[in-house]
């Protein structure tokens, strides 16, 4: 199957949504599940296939458009399609419970969001990348405004504004690149990037940094992010956290290593990542709204990932990718579990949510929390220890100390939530978990434990991804159409 279907299928389903709606809500919801399932199975089918894979459309690259799947994007593809699958199952429950909502609108944009995100990580020329970037963006704006209340609309409009600013920067960057090199193919740009006048190249890098950094929620440009999370429904939060933000992050580092910016900008990105981590974790301490809190937590984790991914050392990067995967799963788990609670209590205030009584939810949430904190035997631990090990090998003790110290701050609020869940003195309200949610949450929790106790399952892919990211020779060859 051509890689193009990754884009075409969701778009097709998206366009067919009105017809599905006419066939009944079951078909509508089912279609989304079917789509995600197909995409996920398709991705699983790529596991073990010789990478990179290329799908070209009509003309051979570098002139034509092509999708390239290498180890790096395979990992993300797995995460994205899996998240999409889980979320589509969750939405089945969600719309059962909230039957009056505008389902079709959600599914249109949901499918398009998947298409856009996947497109961003597959496309091998910067202009197409921009198009997918915009698709993803527009879908996110609408999805975040899915709640047609004040907060929802506010988040939608804010996201729109920020998205537009980011787009402007990126468009300018692309324009400058095109002006300088005369191509939009990533392979060619990577090959000729060092030829650009250093001052212009700084400008290009900065614009790309601002554009993708703003979307990937880096520190001085992420003041909007918590508002978006607060206004959206929690499954969308899960998507933002484990798919959209990760897609921007993917592109950021893809370009970072393709253009070989590592030596020059490594420290800068690391410091920005560290500041993001620090500021977000401290800010999270002060939150009373659970969605905002986990928004900050997401920002913080992205900070760590930026720190670790920019190091250009295979150990650290591999650890960071492991951590990224684990974080995606954990955050998805947390947001979906919280979604159930928010639905029950009709509020996202921590104090109110703490009153729930459900052994299952307590356990899965605790697993999620512990995993994000990097506590064994959960998957977050392996990621964190790999990152720390990588830093240790490069003797970067400052980073180790920094990560560990800020992690304690992180622990404060995670364990405050845990303690609240365990607190016996609260007036408890029993929360029932439906069978669908039961299955998906169990699945996620089991995955967290599985990757924790048997990390080899995942390290194989993260190693592949690391290799592909740090040594993109094969990718370049394919992007230039050399071996075709």
């Amino acid at each position: 199957m051509s890689l193009g279907y990754y884009f075409l299928l969701p778009v097709l389903f998206s366009f067919l949504t009105p017809y599905f709606k006419k066939l009944g809500s079951f078909t509508l919801r089912g279609s989304s599940i079917l789509l995600s399932l197909v995409l996920f199975l398709q991705t699983v089918a790529y596991v073990g296939v010789k990478l990179p894979q290329i799908s070209q459309f009509s003309i051979k690259p570098p002139l034509g458009i092509a999708f390239i799947l290498d180890g790096y994007s395979l990992l993300f593809l797995l995460i994205f399609t899996f998240s999409a699958l889980v979320v589509s199952f969750y939405m089945y429950w969600f719309f059962e419970e909230n039957s009056g909502r505008d389902e079709a609108r959600f599914y249109v944009f949901f499918n398009m969001l998947i298409a856009g995100s996947i497109g961003m990580i597959l496309s091998c020329d910067i202009f197409n990348l921009y198009i997918f970037f915009e698709i993803t963006g527009i879908c996110s704006y609408t999805l975040s405004a899915f709640n047609k209340d004040k907060l929802g609309l506010e988040s939608g409009i804010k996201y729109l504004i920020i998205g537009s600013i980011a787009s402007i920067f990126i468009v300018f960057a692309i324009m400058l690149i095109y002006l300088q090199i005369g191509t939009v193919n990533l392979g060619l740009i990577a090959q000729r990037f060092h030829l650009i006048d250093p001052k212009i190249s700084v400008l290009i890098v900065l614009m790309l940094f601002i554009g993708f950094g703003a979307k990937a929620e880096l520190f001085p440009m992420n003041f909007w992010a918590p508002d978006i999370y607060q206004g959206s429904i929690s499954s969308v939060n899960g998507l933002f956290s484990s798919v959209v933000a990760k897609a921007y992050l993917f592109v950021f580092f893809h370009l970072f290593y393709l253009f070989n910016l590592g030596s020059k900008y490594m420290l800068f990105v690391m410091v920005i990542g560290a500041i993001t981590f620090l500021v977000s974790e401290f800010t999270a301490l002060n939150q009373t709204n659970v969605k905002r809190l986990f928004a900050y937590s997401t920002l913080g984790q992205l900070g760590i990932l930026f720190m670790a991914l920019s190091t250009n050392s295979s150990q650290t990067v591999s650890g960071a990718l492991f951590h990224l995967t684990s974080h995606s799963i954990s955050k998805l788990l947390i947001f979906l579990a919280l979604g159930i609670l928010i639905h029950k209590f009709k509020s996202a205030k921590i104090d109110i949510l703490g009153n729930f009584k459900s052994g299952f939810l307590t356990i899965v949430l605790a697993i999620g929390f512990l995993s994000i904190l990097g506590i064994p035997p959960f998957s977050g631990f392996v990621g964190k220890i790999l990152i720390l090990k990588g830093f240790a090998l490069s003797q970067n003790y400052t980073a180790i100390a920094f990560i560990l110290l800020v992690s304690i701050v992180e622990a404060i609020y995670f364990f405050r939530l845990t303690a609240m869940m365990l607190d016996k003195k609260r007036a408890k309200v029993t929360v029932k978990v439906g069978s669908v949610n039961y299955i998906i949450l169990t699945l996620l929790a089991v995955l967290i434990i599985l990757f924790g106790v048997y990390p080899s399952l995942l390290t194989h892919y993260t190693d592949l991804a690391t290799n592909a990211l740090l040594h993109p020779t094969n990718y370049l060859n394919y992007a230039l159409g050399v071996g075709l």
């Binding site: 409009i157 804010k158 504004i161 920020i162 600013i165 920067f169 001052k199 700084v202 400008l203 900065l206 940094f209 601002i210 703003a214 001085p220 440009m221 003041f223 909007w224 918590p226 401290f282 800010t283 301490l285 002060n286 939150q287 052994g359 605790a366 512990l370 904190l373 506590i375 064994p376 035997p377 631990f381 392996v382 220890i385 720390l388 090990k389 830093f391 240790a392 090998l393 003797q395 003790y397 180790i400 100390a401 560990l404 110290l405 992690s407 304690i408 701050v409 622990a411 404060i412 364990f415 405050r416 845990t418 303690a419 365990l422 607190d423 106790v453 048997y454 990390p455 080899s456 390290t459």
Partner: protein, 590 residues
């Protein structure tokens, strides 16, 4: 449920026994990590210590209706500790350490008296300890390129001096936090006192020992006492390092002892006492001599026995009466006589009185201090020992002696047998440890060999040898018993008839007749004298809590400061982005 987990707890003991010191398992986790379990004499000692403690506590839990998940978590905890003490590499050690942290956290949260603040204290200190540990681990890794103990140990000598120091400090900090060295003990008291009553015994008796195990592991195995001596030089007959550590330990034990005396809550007293006793261990652990290690090891054993005994005893009394303060208890001696005797044996051990095991361990530690000529350290230990009599007496008086402070104490029944069985076993152990202290030499010698220190000569079960003297525990015990019986016979033969069981209000009270309402129990008044002693007052009125409270406040303020940035004004966000861009551009271009 209880019996199932009793059996489950028995299994690892049998398993360990079956292997008999030859356990060596390794399990590849990823291409980089291999989990390995190796049974060293040191690990085996601690493994038996923790497993048997868990077994005894599970017996005591028979009478409580506990949920399945409680037992599961407890079993997980015991397995985590087993992983810690049998670990052959730091990753296994750390995984065990963290599982221990969170499983105990969830167990503590099952208490009825726990509050969020105490839970937070516990978990944050535990995590700080764990993070300090992992920092040490990765730093060691950065030089040794392996997590394996033996590899790190071999490459330790070649590390730069500052890295060596950093490693020792990081590991020590981590384990000190677990053991509750003064200053890092902020979590200990609240946690021990608010945890489920029976679980407190595990916390104090076993979990704090994991810190001690870690110290042994690092000082003895990873770094090596010889290396410590070479790194830091010597003072008197010991190492500089040991001297500093000894002062930390002695300060811990003195301060905690005085704090213990002034507590009103039974378990808080026990918690402080636990800190103080661990202070002794830390004081001698760094000596780097045969007797220092042996003393620390023996005291570890004895303290485990004693604290299990005391906490189970107190748990039983709290379960039976529903009271947990000295000012609410009292006069239970003739209501719960067996419990009383058990507690009595416990405090005699705790005070380090001769016929019981507590003395043998103190003897060992004192002689170790003499051996290294750390005279002031020894005096500090003796001093804190003398002060500890006060809290020992408070413990037994406050609960069992004096007068019952409320009506229902007068009708209390003896505690359930399931509480008594472990206590009786422990008390017997304590008596045996005092009678046959020489038996311990046989246990400790392989460990000393492991640390490449000279061994202790063995001369009979009853004899405890040390560098500068020996005593015969068997003789002292038997002489004590013989004299006791003789004097008892003598006194009962004397005609002057003892009239028993007088009414408890029939006391010399200046001609007055006390009644039910008269406050006759002195449980609360203990330790008030101490506030008037300048030196002690200086200790008592200081507290580490103000430091940690202010740290918490600072964190909160920082958090508020940062969260002020996120107030959601999109215009400002845009402006900031543009400004950020232009600044970066300006910097980048120039």
């Amino acid at each position: 449920m209880n019996s199932i987990f009793l059996l489950l707890n028995l299994l690892p003991i049998l398993f360990l026994y079956q292997f008999g010191g030859a356990l060596h398992v390794s399990l590849p986790l990823t291409s980089e990590f291999t989990l390995s379990l190796i049974q060293t004499p040191l690990g085996t000692f601690f493994a038996y210590l923790s497993l048997i403690s868990f077994l005894l506590v599970t017996i005591a839990q028979k009478s409580k209706k506990l949920a399945c998940n409680y037992y599961v978590l407890q079993f997980l905890l015991s397995m985590a500790m087993l992983a810690i003490v049998l670990a052959g590499d730091f990753i296994t050690f750390f995984i065990g350490w963290e599982i221990m942290t969170w499983s105990s956290y969830f167990l503590i949260s099952k208490s009825n008296s726990i509050d969020i603040k105490s839970l937070q204290k516990y978990i944050l200190f535990s995590l700080a300890s764990a993070f300090s540990l992992i920092a040490g681990i990765v730093i060691a890794y950065s030089f040794a390129h392996s997590f394996d103990f033996s590899v790190i140990s071999n490459s330790f000598k070649d590390m730069p001096f500052n890295i060596k120091v950093a490693l020792i400090v990081l590991f020590s900090l981590s384990f000190f936090t677990k053991a509750g060295v003064i200053g890092l003990h902020y979590w200990v008291v609240d946690t021990y006192s608010k945890a489920p009553n029976l679980f407190s015994s595990i916390l104090s008796a076993v979990m704090s020992k994991m810190g001690i195990y870690g110290l042994f592991l690092v000082y003895g195995n990873i770094v090596g006492y010889q290396e410590l001596k070479m790194m830091f030089g010597t003072i008197l007959n010991g190492t500089d390092f040991g001297y500093v550590l000894a002062w930390i330990g002695v300060a811990t034990s003195i301060i905690a002892t005085f704090k213990a005396i002034t507590q009103d809550e039974v378990k808080r007293l026990l918690a402080y006492s636990s800190i103080a006793q661990l202070g002794y261990i830390i004081a001698v652990i760094g000596f780097g001599t045969t007797y220092g290690v042996a003393g620390a090891m023996y005291h570890t054993l004895i303290h485990t026995i004693i604290k299990l005994l005391l906490f189970i005893n107190v748990a039983a009394i709290v379960a039976q009466t529903g009271k947990n303060r000295f000012s609410q208890l009292g006069g239970l001696i003739y209501r719960t006589p067996v419990s009383f005797v058990m507690l009595l044996i416990g405090i005699i051990g705790l005070a380090g009185m001769p016929p019981l095991g507590g003395f043998a361990s103190k003897f060992m530690m004192y002689n170790a201090a003499i051996d290294t000529k750390f005279a002031l350290i020894l005096i500090g230990m003796l001093f804190s020992g003398a002060a500890s009599f006060l809290y020992c007496y408070k413990l037994v008086y406050g609960i069992y002696l004096g007068h019952p402070t409320s009506k229902n104490l007068e009708t209390t029944k003896e505690v359930p047998i399931s509480y008594l069985i472990p206590q009786i076993i422990l008390a017997l152990l304590l008596v045996l440890a005092g009678t046959f202290p020489g038996a311990f030499i046989k246990i400790i010698n392989p460990i000393l060999v492991e640390f490449s220190l000279s061994t202790i000569p063995y001369s009979g079960l009853g004899v405890m040898n040390s560098a500068v003297g020996s005593f015969n525990g068997f003789f002292i015990m038997s002489a004590f018993v013989v004299f006791f019986v003789l004097i008892l016979l003598l006194i009962t033969r004397i005609k002057s008839k003892a009239k028993n069981n007088l009414n408890r209000f029939d006391i010399s009270y200046c001609g007055e007749v006390p009644t039910q309402d008269t406050s006759l129990h002195f449980g609360f008044g203990f330790g008030t004298d101490l506030y008037r002693i300048k030196f002690v007052n200086a200790i008592l009125k200081r507290s580490s809590s103000s430091f940690y409270e202010s740290l918490a406040t600072q964190t909160k303020k920082t958090s508020e400061l940062f969260s002020r940035m996120y107030y959601g004004n999109i215009h400002n966000t845009m402006i900031i982005i543009l400004l950020f861009f232009s600044t970066l551009f300006f910097i980048g271009v120039n």
